[in-house]
């Protein structure tokens, strides 16, 4: 049986800054995960990834990242995505400091 599709967001790194960004519902790239479009339909998710990947002059390496759907928006289900969201944990100088 095919595995059930779990919620995802499209994420990438911004071409100029290298920063982690997320695709929003109105086609912007946002540094805030809370603003990302949550993709719950597999076909739609694939389409959004293809569209995003074509935007070569804005981003690098777009992919679908697993998320849990919570009241306050998407939340990472794996610690790697959590660190991508929050920035380095050795001291506050990454994203935590800027956002």
């Amino acid at each position: 049986m095919p595995r059930e599709f779990t919620p995802k967001v499209v994420t990438a790194n911004a071409l100029l800054s290298g920063e982690v960004v997320y695709l929003t519902a109105n086609d912007d790239w946002s540094p805030r995960l809370s603003e990302a479009e949550i993709l719950t339909d597999e076909a739609h998710a694939q389409l959004r990834l293809i569209e995003a990947s074509a935007r070569q002059s804005e981003i690098v390496g777009a992919y679908l990242a697993d998320m849990a759907q919570c009241d306050d928006g998407p939340r990472p289900t794996h610690f790697r995505e959590e660190f991508r969201r929050t920035g380095p944990s050795n001291y506050a100088h990454g994203k935590q400091a800027d956002l």
């Binding site: 790194n13 071409l15 100029l16 800054s17 290298g18 920063e19 982690v20 070569q56 002059s57 690098v60 390496g61 289900t77 794996h78 610690f79 790697r80 660190f83 991508r84 920035g87 380095p88 944990s89 050795n90 001291y91 100088h93 990454g94 994203k95």
Partner: protein
């Protein structure tokens, strides 16, 4: 110190000019990422978890104060005000923007530095003993040889697209401070019957399949060294497993073919190519050697040192821990720890870099070194100047007296920065250092090397740590595996796994139990952790980690 020739200047300038255009073309959309990636990697530019990372080579770890100042300027102007010194004698900038990279590379070129071959399947930055030219036990200065190899390998047409990256380390002392047996090629310089030459060790390495290098030649005279090295790299370039990147390193080639077979093939190639080396390399070597002439050491009384040593316990602790014997009378090698308790191992702020540069200029014959243990070295300082040096270091958080101790931890960037990581390394190092600082046991424990990597690539050298820690991903949770008994010196050994790993919350208490077991079991204060482990084996440490029952059960299994 080596000074660029006109050729070197022209070469680096041209490379930077090319890369500037490539960056522009990536930004204006004429290059895709697939086209751009190999070009940026050729210039040391990675894309990591949160940003780009620029890796700058510090050949054989040697820097002038002017160069260190420039590294500080880059950290301030283009990054977040700090840089990260690595085990491969590089500096990594964690936050540069793509547009700024060409300017950064030009700024580096002005002080004869670059990022060429700090990535990709080429011969990487050649590393060397960080006490080169200064250590009391040195037979030959390894830096001229390292520089010769750098010039030979940079842009060598045959070695730009090899099966995998290739790392060479050189030591000129019997005491190996360059970890030569864990490199693709390790060289130990020595004299035999009055002829200077090198023992050549091949096929060592860390990564997912750690191996100890084997001696392929006892003594290759200096005059024949480059052709011999070229033969070794050529043989591997042909035989190396291009079908599988995990099996591509020369360690696997040596393992699969056996050292005798490799030696025979190398000798065959060597005989063929030897005549093509006309001796120009030796003329060059002589020119390079002259540039590494020792500074003129002065004879002065050391009483200022002795007085201070007698009356200031903080200075005494620092001197006892961070100084190393120098070859010249009245001189010392001073190590500056980049491992202040709770800080990120290997990081230095722009201000700290400037302080170290200024000290080197004022008191240290203008020389600095970066050690593979992520610390900075002042290779030539007069003992009489040490109280003043110490005071300046202290004022800038650089006088931690912990070289070689439990908090002098090598940690790779791990998942706080690195795109390949499976777990974090830095916070674990921070917590261990902080914990042992609270316990005030460091100096009691004595020499103990903890080394941490955030994935099996082993950038943090965990295989050769007395205590090695490897961060892994166990079903979406950070998990840390411990190895014991590794040794990074001339008696190189790979650590052995203790058993199941520990969670992020459990790992620091686990390390504390290991160290506690050592303190309980050591014969006396002079028996180091490593010596105790070698005498008693794994058993008491396993019990400390897992308890009596588990230890017995896993022994039976």
């Amino acid at each position: 110190m080596y000074s660029y020739s006109d050729f070197d200047h022209a070469f680096v300038t041209e490379r930077n000019r090319q890369f500037r255009q490539q960056v522009e073309r990536r930004i204006d959309g004429s290059l895709t990422e697939d086209e751009f990636k190999p070009l940026r990697l050729m210039n040391g530019l990675y894309l990591q978890l949160h940003a780009y990372m620029l890796r700058v080579a510090i050949p054989y770890g040697t820097l002038s104060s002017r160069q260190m100042h420039r590294l500080a300027d880059l950290a301030e102007q283009y990054d977040k005000g700090y840089g990260h010194f690595t085990t491969r004698q590089n500096i990594q900038y964690n936050w540069p923007e793509l547009r700024d990279i060409p300017d950064m590379l030009d700024a580096l070129a002005e002080v004869q530095m670059h990022a060429i071959q700090t990535s990709g399947n080429t011969i990487r930055n050649v590393t060397a003993d960080h006490f080169a030219g200064a250590a009391a036990d040195e037979v030959m200065d390894p830096r001229p040889v390292a520089e010769l190899i750098r010039q030979w390998s940079t842009d060598h047409p045959e070695f730009q697209a090899m099966p995998r990256k290739f790392k060479i380390a050189v030591t000129g002392s019997a005491n190996d401070r360059a970890v030569i047996k864990a490199h693709d090629i390790g060289l130990r310089l020595h004299e035999k019957d009055g002829v200077a030459g090198a023992e050549v060790v091949v096929g060592g390495g860390m990564g997912r399949t750690p191996m100890i290098g084997k001696t392929i030649a006892d003594h290759v005279p200096m005059a024949d060294l480059l052709p011999y090295l070229e033969a070794v790299v050529s043989v591997w370039n042909l035989l190396g497993r291009r079908d599988n990147k995990y099996k591509a390193r020369i360690k696997i080639t040596v393992h699969e073919h056996g050292i005798e077979d490799i030696r025979a093939r190398v000798e065959e190639v060597y005989a063929l190519i030897r005549p093509t080396f006309t001796g120009v390399d030796q003329t060059l070597y002589d020119t390079i050697k002259a540039q590494f002439a020792a500074p003129s050491f002065t004879k002065r009384p050391v009483s200022a040192f002795d007085d201070h040593y007698a009356k200031d316990p903080v200075f005494r602790a620092w001197a006892d821990t961070n100084l190393h014997p120098h070859r010249a009378e009245g001189y010392a090698i001073a190590q500056i720890s980049l491992k202040a308790h709770g800080e990120t191992p290997g990081d230095a702020t722009a201000e700290q870099m400037r302080v170290m540069a200024d000290i080197a200029r004022d008191f240290g014959h203008d020389e600095l070194r970066i050690s593979h243990e992520q610390n900075v070295v002042l290779p030539h300082v007069h003992k009489a100047d040490l109280p003043a040096i110490h005071a300046r270091l202290k004022a800038h958080g650089l006088a931690t007296a912990n070289i070689g101790l439990v908090s002098d931890i090598i940690a790779c960037p791990g998942m706080d920065y690195c795109a390949l990581a499976t777990a974090r390394s830095i916070p674990i190092a921070q917590q261990i250092a902080t914990r042992f600082d609270e316990l005030k046991l460091e100096h009691e424990i004595g020499e103990l090397k903890i080394k941490i990597s955030g994935c099996i690539n082993a950038c943090g050298h965990h295989h050769v740590g007395h205590i090695g820690i490897l961060g892994l991903d166990r079903a979406g949770v950070e998990n840390y595996q411990i190895t014991l008994g590794g040794d990074h010196t001339e008696t190189l050994a790979l650590g052995e796994r203790t058993g199941p790993g520990f969670s992020a919350e459990e790992i620091v208490p686990a390390i504390e139990r290991l160290v506690g077991a050592y303190l309980d079991h050591r014969a006396d204060r002079d028996e180091t952790f490593l010596a105790t482990y070698r005498r008693l084996g794994m058993a008491p440490f396993k019990t400390a980690l897992y308890g009596e029952q588990t230890a017995k059960r896993s022994k039976a299994a």
